[in-house]
Structures are given as structure tokens and as C-alpha cells.
């Protein structure tokens, strides 16, 4: 192929899925001249699997993206068809917002935003190769021969890299949703010395809404109380006309068909070599692994308002088409269903993520960043979070500015990236709340308090929004102070209220903050019982209530975080040569050399490293300097 020299950019982003869109928008908004290349313009921010955003941990990531000035939260707030708050009966740390998206609106809206963002060019192209000079990435080459130069490059290939779709005995080279796969780019990465591996994921069939008998299913409507992903969205814009989802179950008949046809599933025939996620198993995997369960839940989720397609959630399968249909027909409510698209499994290339640093730059090639599913994660939110960090750092490095990273104590995005680069992953990685040590501090409700300042410093949060944020912060403090002053007296009304909650009487007057620590007492109750009004809105009151009610546990986690920070402050010199350290066990030496931890805290998190190795390392590097060693 004859190549030609095309335009020059500050930052090039390859791939316009959820990672690529965030990366490109962040870079452009930070003032970098940015090029966003995608294999198909009709696939920008497309959701090739479930039509929903958010949920536990993931929903918090969306809030964090929003607080840092990213787009996902705003885009879903413009295009959802149902909104639900999950875990409302649990503590504040695990409450989670989830939206059903109109996936076509979602795509169109994101594409429109990108098209109208200054400094940002969106173009359809297949990237075949990278321009690398002296182990520094300097641009990309497309299959049409265009050579684009740039100061930094972000790769977000998703499941397109040497993608292969499996439906029963049929398999073919393809990107997600039957798009063009990226073949040559993988070869280019291998030539550059990157270690790639194969992962697998899958998606369920889609069926026609009109052929479902909803009377045999359970309806799941959206919430009445307004909630939003973006801190900028307003309650008055909350959607009242929401679409429901429905739930039904598989049964022994379904399982029988699956068992009879296992030899035709590429998952079991040996055709698929890629590693699939445990938490997102195909229905055939579930039936085999949990043989004692006589039913599995299935969620029916609309794909949008302008389509009759229904996503059959939790029914991911790569069985042959006719078996899929037979399986569907055994399910209550789906007896006569028409299948519009079969489910499929897809195998794709990922880079082992320990080849990246916390900025998502590769250790091997400078100015080359990677984000999203190609780093071994799954999920739109995980992809978007990484895309944002990669885009920010690509922009910062193009300007020669210091890098931006988030700690495990600052954001779920920080947990995600640290897990990837420190531990690698043996299967597609999904964020879970249990992966965060400090989840009480990393709540969905306080993402703005945690990150808006950083977003503003980066230039991604404008001054107006920042000013509004500062007002909120002040109001929180003001109301906290107020509650410490207001006295709740043991009036008849107060004790009747307490009796209603099944609690003991108040004997004397107490300050409102003390009163609030009683179970199930809310700020609104305090306002009503004392006749005193607080200054803040319901979001401010929510913060105040959490701060006071859970102060003891918050304090516990803050102490843990303080310790983490002290250990994070112990830097390991970048040029350390692990072969020169006497006494390290071979396994530890290899792991340290491979992962190259930046701090002693990170070194502690590497699995398979024992305390003696850590002791030796900590002695050796004494606070970022080498110990005085004479051999």
C-alpha cells in the first residue's frame, strides 16, 4: 500500500467506543488538536451488548467520569428510557444508579457531541500500524495509506482486535455486531514486543417485543424520585414517561435442551480458546456449572424507543441459531417469540495490562496509551473510565505537563486501573464494590466532592460549574455546623416519633447531630421536629446525613487511607535493577521486574510476593533512594 502524509495532530485516538469517546473529548477539551478514528461512524459509542449503564461500582464510575468533566453521565441522562436506584435498602456506600438506555439515541447523541466539539475531528478509518521512532509513538497509518503524525496516541480497540464471532459451528472473523475487525494492528503490536492474549465474551439473542407474552413475566418499572448520573442534570428534566423491563426464568426444559446440545456449543467443543469472564457466563456455562439450580433469571430489556428489539439479558449464548430459538421457546412468556438476532460469542485480542503504567501509557513505547476492553476489562463504564484517564494523560504529555492519576482511595477508576497494572487479569475484568477497600469513601453520592476540584484543575470543569460546586461544599459545612447547634428537646412529638421507630425515649435535650445518629432518623425528620430549616437542597442534606450517621466508619476508613498514603509516598526509584538486590526470591524478583511498582504500597499489592521480599525491598530503597550498599 502506497502511503501519503496526512494531517498532524496533538493527540490521535483510535476507536470510538466508550473508551475512545471519553479519551478524544477530554483531549480536545483540554485544548489539544485531536483526531478520533473509528472503523465505523455508525458505531460511535455503540452498545453491542446490554442496553444499560450503571449499577453497583459501575454507576459510581459514571459519576466519577462526570465529576472529572467526562461525557458518559451527561449522555445517558439525555438518552435513558428508565432510571432506577439500586440497593436503596442498604448503606450509602453501595447505593447505585442504573439506567436503561435507548442505545440508538445514546450513539447519536454522543456522535453529535463529538462532531460539535472544537479541536476534535471524527473520521472513519481502519488503523493498521503505528509510527514508532526510538521507542516513542509518533502517529498511526490507516489501511487507506494515510499517515497521521501526533504527539501521543491512544488505542481503544475494544473487541475488534482480531475479533472472531462464534455461533454454534459457525465462526468468522469480525468485530462486535458484525463490523470490520482490526487485524493488522494486532500484528503491529506484536512486532513492537507487546504480549497479547485472547479473551472471550458473549451477547444474548434479541427478540421482537410484539411476540412476548408479558402476562407470564414480572414487570420492573423505573423510579419516580428523580435521580441523575450527571451532577449537572436537573430534577425538572427527569423523565416521567419511563419504559419498563420484565423478568422471567429458565426451567428444567431449557436446561435439558442446553445439555443435549452442549457438543454443538463452541464453548464446550474446544473451538473457543479465549478466557471468558466468570461473572458474565453464557447460559450454557451456568447450566453446566450450577447443575443443581433448576432455574435462572432472565431480564427482558428494551433496546430503545424506536425499535421493537428486546435484549434477553442473562441469556448470553453461542449455541447454533436453531438451538437458541428452541431454548427461548421453553421460557415462560417467550413460547412464541421471534428471534431477530442470534446471540454470539466473540474472541478478541487484549494486551496484558501489566504492560501499562497508572497513566495507561505503555511501559514499552512512550506516548502510546491504551484504554478500555483491549486492556482486559469488560463493561462500558470500565472502558469509559480508562478512556478518560488515557485521554487526559495523552493531552498532558502532548503539552509536556505532569501526569494525572487517581489512587485507590480517590476513585473506583483508581481501583480499576491499579488492579489492572498491578495484578494484571486472568479473565475479562469487571469492577465490583468488593474490589474497593475504601468503598465507604468512594460513594456515588460524593463523586463530585472527591473529584470536581481535579476536573477543574485539568480544565475539564468550567468555572461556572466549579463555582456551583463550591457553593454546595459551603452549604454542607454550614448545615453540619447548624446541626451541632440545634437542640432536639424531649417533647411529646419527638418521643412519639421515636416510639414509631421502635426506639427509646429521649430523656433530655440533645444536639441534632447526636439525635441524627439514631437508626432511621433523617435530616428531614430533624427539621420537622425542631421547626428549624437547613440551608441546603436534598443533595446537600444527603451528604450531611451520611457524614453524621456513619462518622465512626468513615473515620475508620480514613485512618486506613492515611496509612495507605504514607506507604504510597515511599517511591521506588524508576531505574532500580532488581537483579542487583541480594536475597529476593526468584518469583518476587521476576514480578517486581515485570510490573515495576512505583511505590512500596503498590509492591505490597502484587500477588505472590511474600513479606520477606517486601522487607528486603523496603530496606533497599529507603524512601526513594538506594540504601548505601557496598558489596
Amino acid at each position: 500500500m502506497k502511503t501519503y502524509v496526512s494531517n498532524e495532530y496533538d493527540v490521535i485516538v483510535v476507536g470510538a467506543g466508550h473508551a475512545g469517546c471519553e479519551a478524544a473529548l477530554a483531549s480536545a477539551r483540554m485544548g489539544e488538536k485531536t483526531l478520533l478514528l473509528t472503523i465505523g461512524l455508525d458505531m460511535v459509542a455503540f452498545m453491542p451488548c446490554n442496553p444499560s449503564i450503571g449499577g453497583p461500582a459501575k454507576g459510581t464510575v459514571v459519576r466519577e467520569i462526570d465529576a472529572l468533566g467526562g461525557e458518559m453521565g451527561k449522555n445517558i441522562d439525555k438518552t435513558y428510557i428508565q432510571m432506577r436506584m439500586l440497593n436503596t435498602g442498604k448503606g450509602p456506600a453501595v447505593r447505585a444508579l442504573r439506567a436503561q438506555a435507548d442505545k440508538w439515541d445514546y450513539h447519536e447523541e454522543m456522535k453529535r457531541t463529538i462532531e460539535n466539539t472544537p479541536n476534535l475531528t471524527l473520521r472513519q478509518a481502519v488503523v493498521d500500524d503505528l509510527i514508532v521512532e526510538d521507542r516513542e509513538c509518533r502517529g498511526v497509518v490507516t489501511n487507506t495509506g494515510a499517515r497521521y503524525r501526533a504527539k501521543s496516541v491512544v488505542l481503544t480497540t475494544g473487541t475488534a482486535a482480531r475479533g472472531r464471532i462464534f455461533i454454534g459451528e459457525l465462526n468468522y472473523s469480525s468485530g462486535p455486531n458484525n463490523t470490520i475487525p482490526a487485524i493488522k494492528l494486532s500484528e503491529s503490536l506484536e512486532r513492537l514486543g507487546f504480549k497479547l492474549r485472547r479473551f472471550k465474551t458473549g451477547t444474548p439473542p434479541r427478540v421482537n417485543r410484539h411476540t412476548i407474552d408479558y402476562s407470564k413475566t414480572e414487570e420492573e418499572p423505573g423510579d419516580k424520585e428523580p435521580r441523575h448520573f450527571s451532577f449537572t442534570s436537573r430534577d425538572e428534566d427527569y423523565l416521567t414517561d419511563q419504559t419498563s423491563c420484565w423478568m422471567t426464568y429458565t426451567n428444567p426444559k431449557t436446561h435439558e435442551i442446553i445439555n443435549e446440545n452442549l457438543d454443538r456449543s463452541p464453548m464446550f467443543s474446544g473451538d473457543i480458546v479465549g478466557v471468558g469472564p466468570r461473572y458474565c457466563p453464557s447460559i450454557e456455562t451456568k447450566v453446566v456449572r450450577f447443575a443443581d439450580k433448576d432455574r435462572h433469571q432472565i431480564f427482558l430489556e428494551p433496546e430503545g424507543r424506536k425499535t421493537e428489539e428486546i435484549y434477553v439479558g442473562d441469556f448470553s449464548t453461542s449455541m447454533p441459531e436453531e438451538v437458541q430459538l428452541e431454548m427461548l421457546h421453553t421460557v415462560a412468556g417467550l413460547e412464541k417469540v421471534e428471534m431477530m438476532r442470534p446471540g454470539y460469542a466473540i474472541e478478541y485480542d487484549v494486551v496484558d495490562p501489566w504492560q501499562l503504567t497508572h497513566t495507561l501509557e505503555t511501559k514499552r513505547i512512550k506516548h502510546l496509551y491504551m484504554a478500555g476492553q483491549m486492556n482486559g476489562t469488560s463493561g462500558y463504564e470500565e472502558a469509559a473510565g480508562q478512556g478518560l484517564i488515557a485521554g487526559i494523560n495523552a493531552a498532558l504529555s502532548a503539552e509536556g505537563k505532569p501526569a494525572f492519576t487517581l489512587g485507590r482511595d480517590e476513585a473506583y477508576i483508581g481501583v480499576l486501573i491499579d488492579d489492572l497494572v498491578t495484578k494484571g487479569t486472568e479473565e475479562p475484568y469487571r469492577l465490583l464494590t468488593s474490589r474497593a477497600e475504601y468503598r465507604l469513601l468512594l460513594r456515588h453520592d460524593n463523586a463530585d466532592l472527591r473529584l470536581t476540584e481535579k476536573g477543574h484543575d485539568l480544565g475539564l470543569i468550567d468555572d461556572d460549574r466549579y463555582a456551583e460546586f463550591l457553593v454546595k461544599k459551603e452549604l454542607i459545612q454550614e448545615d453540619l455546623d447548624r446541626l451541632r447547634e440545634i437542640t432536639v428537646h424531649p417533647t411529646i412529638a419527638v418521643n412519639e416519633y421515636l416510639a414509631g421507630l421502635g426506639q427509646t425515649d429521649l430523656n433530655g435535650g440533645v444536639k441534632a447531630d447526636v439525635f441524627l445518629r439514631r437508626p432511621r432518623v433523617t435530616v428531614e425528620d430533624v427539621e420537622r421536629l425542631t421547626g428549624q430549616k437547613l440551608a441546603g437542597d436534598r443533595y446537600v442534606k444527603e451528604q450531611v446525613e451520611i457524614d453524621i450517621k456513619y462518622a465512626g466508619y468513615i473515620k475508620k476508613q480514613e485512618i486506613q487511607v492515611a496509612r495507605l498514603r504514607r506507604q504510597e509516598a515511599k517511591k521506588i526509584p524508576k531505574d532500580i535493577d532488581y537483579d542487583q538486590i541480594e536475597g529476593l526470591a526468584t518469583e518476587a524478583r521476576e514480578k517486581f521486574a515485570k510490573i515495576r511498582p512505583e511505590t512500596l504500597a503498590q509492591a505490597e499489592r502484587i500477588s505472590g510476593v511474600n513479606p520477606a521480599d517486601l522487607a528486603i525491598l523496603s530496606v533497599y530503597v529507603q524512601n526513594g533512594k538506594y540504601a548505601k550498599v557496598q558489596k
Binding site: A93, Y553, A601, K628
Partner: protein
């Protein structure tokens, strides 16, 4: 999600070999060393005394007000200390039980049991020692940490290991269930309610209590019960010593790095290890006609966990006998009324009534009633525990300290739930308890929880 951030904890350990010398030293190092010791110390306010001073006082259990021991506390403030951190050294009177009680109090009041070699490691990390001989230093650290850990795990009896693993699994199953409820709220998996979690926390906590009760017995099993044989000259001490140290009772110790006084004898009495102290003194006073051995006995008595006080049943009590009875009054003791082969002037019943202690009549010379004496020693300290074939004993302070920590975390779980805190919050302490138990068994795979979650529950789209 296992945390190993231990660098900033205040640590404590017994820094003299147990069973050696009349004085034991418990060393505490770290930012809170002075404050923690001060909570237990009755005497001067240690937070106000100048650095590098030795202070007289008592260690008192703040929970009960009970005096544990009379001690000297040396306060040394950073940076001119071994670890370059604040250090307090508590010099106490020795005995395994008392020294261990002091350590356990420190652990209960905010200190953490030091890892093996950790004082030395801190000295290095804080730059106290230049690594001029890197290799040997690294070797020392490696050897100390690795070996001590192996030893620690080996010391877990099969029964204890199984028991603690079972407790961990009990917690883990509930934890995984809690996580599933959080991460997959739309699934119809059973919900872990506050009641369920509370029941689990209390069940595990009760089992830990029972393990902790074995801790003292376990200590003695491992270290030997310090035993003093006292009595006036020619009462039969030497004969008893010879009987106890006859070849089939001798214990060969292989405790590395500790040089024992060659005259101290380790014997096993019905499976109970005894460390006989001041054996030299016994021979001394018996062999030679010389001044009375009471002064010497005083020292032995102070160190001992068990006193075998010999009286001559064929003679009336002497002034010296009475003095020894007085000196040993507060101790665990067995009064051996020897020489039943001769005409008796004293009766066991009289002495028992007068002393309030166990009394046994023997003739050591004729080997009469010695088996009963052994049985009594065993009964006195082990309450029959060692008879069980499946020994579930907590045998060292590290294990006991971590068990106590886990227990506290479970208590916090219970009080949190009772205060109406949601399950996912009190779970912070529940996870902590699980991790503390994992430190005992050395099981702490970071993805253990997530693995359990996905093997137990069928999840995902």
C-alpha cells in the same frame, strides 16, 4: 483486598527469651508506644517523663484495675533508639504467665504483635544501620522472616489450623453472600440480613473465645512451666530433682539461638513440660553445710509459675519452713510432705488446712506417691485439656494476639448491627476479622473473596 500496610503500627513483643533470666523485657516501638504503655502504667505519667529514663511503677489492667506486675519502664524517644522510633521497654519479673499477660494487655490497647525480625527491619528501614554489608543483612532479614513464618505456621497444631480455617470459611461464605447482594441486587439470591450477620459474628466470636481460653495452656505447653523446688536443706530437694530428671523424663530442646543455662533442666511430667529453675542452688544447699538458702530461694520463687515446696513430715515446722510457706503463699504451689518412711510429726490434712494449698505426702527416697505428685502437677495446670487426642491449643502470643484482634472486630460488628448500622458497613469489621484470622494461618490470597463469590453464586448476564 488484603492489606499488608503494617509499617506504621506500634509493635510489641517479648524481647528476652522466655524462660531465661529473672527479668523479662517487653519491648514496644512506634508512634504510639508511650501512649499505649501509659494506659497500663501506674506510676509517673510516661508521656511527660524525659527521654531515656527508667521509671518505677506497676502494670495494671485498665479494664479490671488488677495489678499485673511491678515493673521498670524505660522510655526512649525517637530518634536515638534502636528502631529510630519511640521505644518503651517494660522490665518485668519474668514468669511466662505474667510477661505474656503484659504483652496481651499491650495488644489489647492498640499495639500489634511484632512480626519476626520486625524491630531489626525497622532499624534498617529507618536508616539506623547503614547497609555496608548488604548481602549479610539481606540474608538475615530473609532468614528471620521466612524461617520464623514457617515456624509459626508449623506451630499451628493440625487441629488449630483446621479450626481457624473453618472459622474463616464461615465468615467468607457470609461475606461473599453480602457482596452478591450488593453487586447483584436484582438477583433472587438470599439476602444476608442484620440478624443473620449478627448470628454469624456471635457464633464465630464464641468459638474464638474458646480458642483464647486455651492460649495460656498453650503457652505453657510450648515454653515449659517454670518450676521451683524449694525447701530447707536436707528436706529431699535433690532427690526430687534427681527423680524428675531421670533420663526418660529429660527433654531435648532444639530452640535455635537460645543458649540455656546448662544447669537448668527441662523435664516432661505426664506430658507437661517443666523447666526446673535454680537447680544449681538445690545442689548447692544440699551438698554443703552452709548458710540458709532462703535468700536464694526468694529469687527462684519470684520467677516461678509453679512452686514445689518440700517439708519434712518427720519433723515439726521450723522457722525456715514457715518463712518459705509465707514467701510462696501467693503462688501456685504444691506442698510436698516428704519422708513418709519415717515417723510423722506433720499430717497432710493439717498443712492443707493451714496453707490452703494442695498437699501431698511422699517418700521420695522410697519412690512412694510420686506418680500421684505428677498427676497433681498435671491437674493443677491443665484441667485435663491435654488428655484430648485432638489438641486444639493456641500456643503462641502472635496467634493469641491475632485471635484477640479478630474477636474485637467481631464485637464491633455486633455493636454496629445493634446500633442499626447497615450490613454493608459493619462488614468493614467483619472483613477485618477474616483478615486477622488469615494472618494466623498464612492464608491471604487477594482474590479469595471474589473467587468464593463466583464459585458459590451463579451470576451474570
Amino acid at each position: 483486598m488484603v492489606q499488608r500496610l503494617t509499617e506504621f503500627d506500634t509493635i510489641a513483643a517479648i524481647s528476652t527469651p522466655l524462660g531465661e533470666g529473672g527479668i523479662s523485657i517487653v519491648r514496644v516501638s512506634g508512634e504510639d508506644a508511650v501512649a499505649i504503655v501509659n494506659r497500663l502504667f501506674k506510676g509517673k505519667d510516661l508521656e511527660k517523663v524525659p527521654s531515656h529514663t527508667i521509671n518505677y511503677g506497676h502494670i495494671v489492667d485498665p479494664a479490671t484495675g488488677q495489678v499485673i506486675d511491678e515493673v521498670m519502664a524505660s522510655v526512649m524517644l525517637a530518634p536515638k533508639t534502636f528502631t529510630k522510633e519511640d521505644i518503651v521497654e517494660i522490665n518485668c519479673h519474668g514468669g511466662i504467665v505474667v510477661t505474656n499477660d503484659i504483652l496481651q494487655l499491650l495488644l489489647a490497647n492498640g499495639a500489634r504483635m511484632a512480626d519476626p525480625g520486625e524491630f531489626t527491619k525497622r532499624a534498617f528501614v529507618n536508616g539506623r544501620i547503614d547497609l555496608t554489608q548488604a548481602e549479610s543483612v539481606m540474608d538475615i532479614i530473609r532468614a528471620k522472616t521466612d524461617k520464623a513464618r514457617q515456624v509459626a505456621v508449623k506451630q499451628l497444631s493440625g487441629g488449630l489450623l483446621t479450626e481457624i480455617r473453618a472459622l474463616r470459611q464461615e465468615i467468607l461464605d457470609v461475606l461473599a453472600n453480602v457482596e452478591v447482594n450488593i453487586d447483584y441486587p436484582e438477583y433472587d439470591e438470599e439476602e444476608v440480613t442484620a440478624q443473620k450477620l449478627l448470628a454469624c459474628a456471635k457464633a464465630v466470636s464464641g468459638k474464638i473465645d474458646r480458642l483464647l481460653e486455651t492460649a495460656q495452656e498453650g503457652q505453657i505447653l510450648r515454653n515449659g512451666l517454670k518450676t521451683a523446688i524449694v525447701g530447707r536443706p536436707n528436706v529431699g530437694k535433690s532427690s526430687l530433682l534427681n527423680y524428675l530428671t531421670q533420663s526418660d523424663k529429660a527433654i531435648v530442646t532444639d530452640v535455635a539461638g537460645t543458649t540455656r543455662d546448662t544447669l537448668e533442666e527441662f523435664v516432661s511430667v505426664k506430658g507437661v513440660p517443666l523447666e526446673l529453675i535454680d537447680t544449681a542452688g538445690i545442689h548447692h544447699t544440699e551438698d554443703q553445710v552452709e548458710k540458709i538458702g532462703v535468700e536464694r530461694s526468694k529469687k527462684a520463687i519470684a520467677q516461678a509459675d509453679l512452686i514445689l515446696l518440700l517439708l519434712d513430715g518427720s519433723q515439726e515446722l521450723t522457722e525456715e519452713d514457715r518463712r518459705l510457706l509465707e514467701l510462696t503463699a501467693g503462688k501456685k504451689r504444691i506442698i510436698v510432705l516428704n519422708k513418709t518412711d519415717l515417723g510423722q510429726k506433720l499430717t497432710a490434712a493439717e498443712i492443707a488446712k493451714e496453707s490452703g494449698s494442695e498437699v501431698i505426702s511422699t517418700s521420695i527416697m522410697m519412690k512412694e506417691n510420686l506418680d500421684e505428685l505428677e498427676a497433681l502437677i498435671k491437674k493443677l495446670f491443665f484441667k485435663g485439656i491435654e488428655n484430648s487426642n485432638d489438641q486444639v491449643l493456641v500456643t503462641n502470643q502472635r496467634q493469641a494476639g491475632l485471635l484477640a484482634k479478630a474477636k474485637q472486630q467481631l464485637v464491633d460488628v455486633a455493636s454496629g448491627l445493634e446500633a442499626g448500622m447497615p450490613v454493608d458497613l459493619v462488614q468493614i469489621d467483619f472483613t477485618g476479622a477474616w483478615e486477622s484470622l488469615g494472618e494466623i494461618t498464612g492464608d491471604s490470597a487477594p482474590d479469595e473473596l471474589i473467587n468464593d463469590l463466583f464459585s458459590q453464586f451463579c451470576l451474570g448476564k
